[in-house]
């Protein structure tokens, strides 16, 4: 009886916490690809203005979880999601939610830089244009410049805004993709191994950028690099075989994790 009430109190407390700090809340999230189950009842909360890193060995379900947050899994045939995910307490899988609106609020950056085969300017203007966020040429110019400034790319490309985005270097392309996501004015940015195709210098730039973006956005990043998770994130979640093993402050996670599996993975014993 006593224990029950304690659990109830904890639950109430957690509810309050989610109201206050949690931008997105995942509850009992399971994902199936056809018959195969890829995620097992994951409970993970994403805090506001925080960088949350998702780590774990390949195939552990971290990217799958990331893609449930803006329903990118919808584009994969045979993919089914159960459980609930909320964004500011509203269920993103609710019938009434327009997935287009959701993705405007929860942007995404992919593993491989994928700029559209258009000019740098048009790459950034694409999102504002389809969402009607800008009208006049001046508005567009401003959005493009702002986004590029925030992505720390403006000075490098200001003289060639009308050249193809595909002509940039890999690191610049990735920052262009981040700028493109920013231009829509999202609240959350999801990043799926954004630096895995980049060299160390470009990686450093993108990491610095992630650090700065935290003040305006909530960021969830999937990474294979433990050092990267330690460098850029405040919270870290460890996945293994489709289960969430542990979620903790990054500092604690890398010095004194609660779970043996986390310890082993971080020490490089598997993965």
């Amino acid at each position: 009886m006593n224990i029950m009430s304690e659990a109830a109190v904890e639950k109430a407390l957690e509810q309050k916490m989610s109201d206050a700090h949690f931008k997105m809340v995942g509850k009992d999230v399971s994902v199936y690809y056809g018959e195969k189950r890829a995620l097992f009842d994951v409970n993970l909360n994403v805090r506001k203005n925080t960088v949350t890193a998702l780590i774990g060995p390949s195939g552990c379900g971290k990217s799958t979880f990331l893609r449930t947050l803006n329903r990118m899994n919808d584009t994969i045939e045979g993919c089914r999601v159960t459980g609930s995910i909320t964004l500011d307490n509203a269920d993103v899988y609710d019938q009434s939610v327009d997935v287009v609106e959701l993705r405007a609020r929860v942007g995404m950056v992919f593993q491989k830089p994928n700029p559209f085969p258009k000019s740098i300017y048009e790459n950034i203007a694409y999102g504002p244009r389809i969402h009607g966020l800008a009208r006049s040429k001046a508005d567009f110019d401003e959005v493009v410049e702002n986004s590029l400034q925030k992505a720390g790319l403006f000075n490098e490309v200001k003289d060639r805004l009308h050249e193809p985005g595909t002509g940039l270097s890999g690191g610049q392309q990735q920052r262009l993709c981040i700028a493109r996501a920013i231009a829509v004015g999202p609240e959350v940015i999801l990043m799926d191994e954004p630096c895995s195709a980049l060299d160390p210098i470009a990686t450093a730039k993108v990491e610095e950028l992630i650090h700065e973006l935290r003040t305006n956005f909530t960021i969830v990043i999937v990474t294979h690099s433990m050092q990267q998770a330690a460098r850029v994130s405040q919270r870290t979640a460890m996945f293994h075989l489709g289960n969430l093993v542990e979620e903790n402050d990054t500092d604690k996670m890398f010095t004194n994790p609660d779970d043996q599996r986390t310890q082993d993975y971080i020490m490089g014993r598997f993965g």
């Binding site: 942007g107 491989k112 994928n114 559209f116 389809i130 193809p164 993709c177």
Partner: protein
């Protein structure tokens, strides 16, 4: 006779493959140092040396022998120095007819002597080629066999030969095209010596019904190509209006919207359309579509003729849908998934993604399909012969009958015709024009694509 020679050649090469690799294996067995090439390469090399030079001699003989023999026969013909080219070729064809046993009248003694000369030359030539080929074969086989050794780089030698063979294959298409062009140009020049180029290119009347004999009653004849080209463009234009939207929209539906089962059924069916013989489309146009178009025109109060540009153009449009839809489908499907995801992740809808990302990225492929379809439409013959009409009229009224370049080529070449008559030669000039027009269309489209393509 040549057949046996070729079979012998192939057999010899085959035998040399085995002999060569057997010898290579034997040499390698006792060798202390490492061998360079595997035995099969030594065998293949021996086969190539045996077969290829002999085959080249054989080809040269096939190409050259008859003209050389002709020269010799005519040179020994009494009084040939004073004859002109036409007379010479007449004599030659008579000699060859007689030699083949087709005797229509008793040949003159001169001809008979020439026939005997021809026969002896032919016999000599066939003996000579057997000797030459056999010698080339023997020398090649001997060298190819002797060269086998541990350090001989047979693999390199074989690979070089294969490279040359591939180069030769790629040249075949080009050389054939050049041949086609030169034959067109040659006949067209003859035409232009009878009808001025300017009259042909800028004339507004096309009435090729001129007298081919002095006693015939016929028109004066006019060879202005403009009305014919105009008709071609009207019909092709109608065809493209039908086919381009249909083809591209069906491609978009099939790649982006339809479920797999629907696609699996519809795509092959669409491609069957491309396999329907054009003469069948012609039936359809003339028996079904043309009357329907005519009654439509009459009900609209337009004077519609039984053959109409609209009927031919619409059916032609249906014919070329598969080219556009199939190639656009491939182009859309090959746009990387990352492009779609990037667009969706920004909150773009499916329609926006297709219009703003997929179509621009797939543009080169789509334009390629449209172009192929356009060349098919411009060059299409059977449907227009059956359904479009023969009168060269400059009109944009789709219910009227028009004629096309291909239709005119067919009508000009059908029936009794002489090859020194402008009416017949006009067909070649038309062919040349058609060729140039499609070439220009292709060039324009290539430039357009290069300018607007969005490379991913």
């Amino acid at each position: 006779m040549s057949g046996y020679l070729l079979i012998t050649l192939a057999l010899a090469a085959l035998v040399m493959t085995f002999v060569g690799s057997a010898r290579a294996r034997a040499t390698q067995n006792g060798a202390s140092e490492k061998t360079h090439s595997r035995p099969i390469y030594h065998g293949l090399n021996a086969a190539i040396w045996t077969g290829v030079p002999a085959f080249i001699f054989f080809l040269l003989w096939l190409v050259g022998q008859s003209s050389v023999i002709n020269q010799l026969v005519i040179a020994s013909f009494p009084g040939s120095e004073s004859l002109d080219a036409t007379a010479k070729s007449l004599i030659l064809s008579e000699v060859r007819q007689v030699a083949a046993g087709n005797i229509f009248k008793e040949p003159t003694p001169e001809i008979q002597a020439a026939v005997a000369h021809l026969k002896s030359l032919q016999q000599l030539s066939s003996v000579a080629i057997i000797a030459v080929v056999a010698a080339a074969m023997a020398i090649g086989a001997f060298l190819g066999y002797r060269v086998i050794g541990n350090r001989f780089r047979a693999r390199h030698s074989v690979e070089r030969s294969v490279t040359y063979f591939m180069m030769f294959s790629s040249l075949v298409a080009i050389v054939t095209t050049l041949g086609i062009i030169s034959s067109l140009v040659f006949e067209a020049i003859q035409f232009f010596s009878k009808v001025p180029v300017t009259e042909f290119l800028f004339g507004l009347r096309w009435e090729p019904q001129i007298a081919i004999r002095a006693d015939q009653v016929a028109g004066q004849g006019a060879f202005g190509v403009i009305p014919v080209l105009f008709g071609t463009f009207v019909i092709s234009g109608i065809a493209m209006i039908v086919a381009v939207p249909t083809g591209i929209l069906s491609a978009i539906y099939l790649t982006e919207y339809s479920d797999k089962r629907f696609r699996a059924v519809v795509k092959p069916l669409l491609e069957i359309l491309a396999g329907v013989p054009t003469v069948v489309y012609g039936f359809f146009a003339v028996l079904t579509v043309a009357p329907a178009v005519r009654s439509l025109g009459l009900s609209l109060g337009i004077d519609a003729s039984p053959n109409s540009a609209l009927a031919a153009g619409a059916v032609m449009g249906v014919m070329i849908i598969p080219f556009i839809s199939s190639l656009s489908d491939d182009a859309l499907a090959s746009v990387p998934r990352a492009m779609r995801e990037g667009s969706y992740a920004l909150g773009a809808t499916k329609g926006e993604t297709i219009r703003k990302v997929l179509l621009p990225a797939a543009l080169p492929g789509i334009v390629g399909g449209v172009l192929l379809a356009l060349s098919r439409a411009v060059g299409e013959t059977m449907i227009v012969v059956m359904a479009a009409g023969l009168i060269a009229k400059m009109t944009v009224n789709p219910f009227d009958a028009v004629t096309t370049v291909t239709v005119q080529i067919v009508t000009l070449l059908i029936g009794d015709s002489e090859f020194d008559n402008p009416k017949t030669l006009a067909a070649f000039a038309l062919g040349l024009i058609l060729f140039i027009v499609t070439l220009i269309l292709n060039l324009i489209a290539l430039r357009t694509v290069r300018k607007y393509r969005e490379k991913y």
